[in-house]
Assembly symmetry: none
DNA sequence: GTGGTCTAGACCACA
DNA sequence: GTGGTCTAGACCACA
């Protein structure tokens, strides 16, 4: 489980950590029951404040993605979807709305948006 | 020109307003030269502070989407290339960040995001 | 980093602040990566509302001059080309407007303006 | 005495009018004692609100540039400088500061600024 | 009437 | 601690 953060990024650090763990689960690199690094270890590795790692883990735990093993770290929880399928789609559509309108007013074409999205997937996608 | 805001949204109010105006332009509901509601009128309609509307309008004006007609409100500006290629790409990457981050949080896979984006393009129609 | 504002000036306070930070960068007093005073500290120093300082900083951030380090203040950003050539020219024309307008109001002729500008360049030194 | 205004300009209309009259005086097109168009005639010509023309004339009168002939329009007044030479120079230097720092942070070189200023003079200069 | 600036002060996200 | 968002409300420039 390797996590990378970039300091200058507009994404907050805790968000970068949470997203990368989510991504590792979606891509199969982390499976149900697998342990994630301890808060202190990861904070030391990334040279950041432990509070920041803790915040990422606590969000993931709140969302039912991780499960705390009181005193023995966190593991990937069995997947239970918090939102209904319809609700998840509705929320995704909202973000797609933002993406499309912003990208089009920036002067990008459909093809360019599509292309950039694919590139992004390739760069950070399942390895 | 009908604008709706939702209080519970993760998007800030001024971003929701700016987004919807961008969408109205992209979808053709607002054309170059069309007036947007006055700051005070829209604020009253949405029951929010005029400053919040003004913030949305000023962002759109800075980005070359709207144009102020001192003393007579704002209209949709003619298409300008305000940003450099590099900046446009940077901004596209930012919204892609939001999309991917939100989608992962919702438990969508890359393929599903891709698929939804394609569907959305098909809906708006080719070109 | 010392900033002064004058109440009687035709320039708005936030513009005076933004201007002086630009000047500090141009003159080499502020270099890439250097921190600017925090919003609250500068507001206290100048005895003005923090929102006014924040407005100056947010304009500079939008223009790619400053960079926000979430939770840790703002620093001078590395030189970026945020704007397209056309936009840069448009903005230069705006400040030339101000110069010419103000200079005419003060009763200077074109030749005198020109001469003063050359002198100014000589003072800052070649290249 | 021909005056041109552009609606989309960031310069307010009354400012454009006042500046063009100042410019005509500086360039010698208007001499002491020459009449300027009446408020109503100019407003009709430019298809703008008479208040706007009146505001320009009243600023010029306040500054001692024009002189009202109660009931018979305005003429160019004999030149008396409101500010001392030193004060005028000080104010001009402030605007030059703004111009130079904004232009340099926009990425323009000294030569380019110089060149743009000359072009501006040629375009609107004494004819 | 229009938008722009500024104050005073609350609350939130982030590290 | 840091900046970002929002409210409530004043005052100004402009047409």
């Amino acid at each position: 489980m390797q996590i990378h953060i970039s300091a200058g990024s507009p994404q907050s650090i805790y968000r970068q950590i949470a997203d990368q763990i989510r991504q590792a689960i979606v891509s199969g690199n982390l499976k149900v029951g697998d342990a994630v690094p301890s808060v202190r270890q990861l904070a030391k590795e990334l040279a950041i404040n432990p509070n920041t790692v803790a915040k990422a883990y606590s969000e993931l735990t709140r969302d039912g993605i991780l499960e705390g093993l009181s005193g023995r770290g966190c593991v990937v929880a069995s997947r239970k979807n918090v939102f209904s399928k319809a609700e998840r789609v509705r929320r995704l559509e909202l973000v797609l709305d933002s993406l499309v309108s912003e990208a089009l007013t920036l002067g990008f074409s459909y093809d360019e948006i599509q292309e950039r999205l694919v590139k992004r997937f390739e760069k950070i996608g399942p390895e």
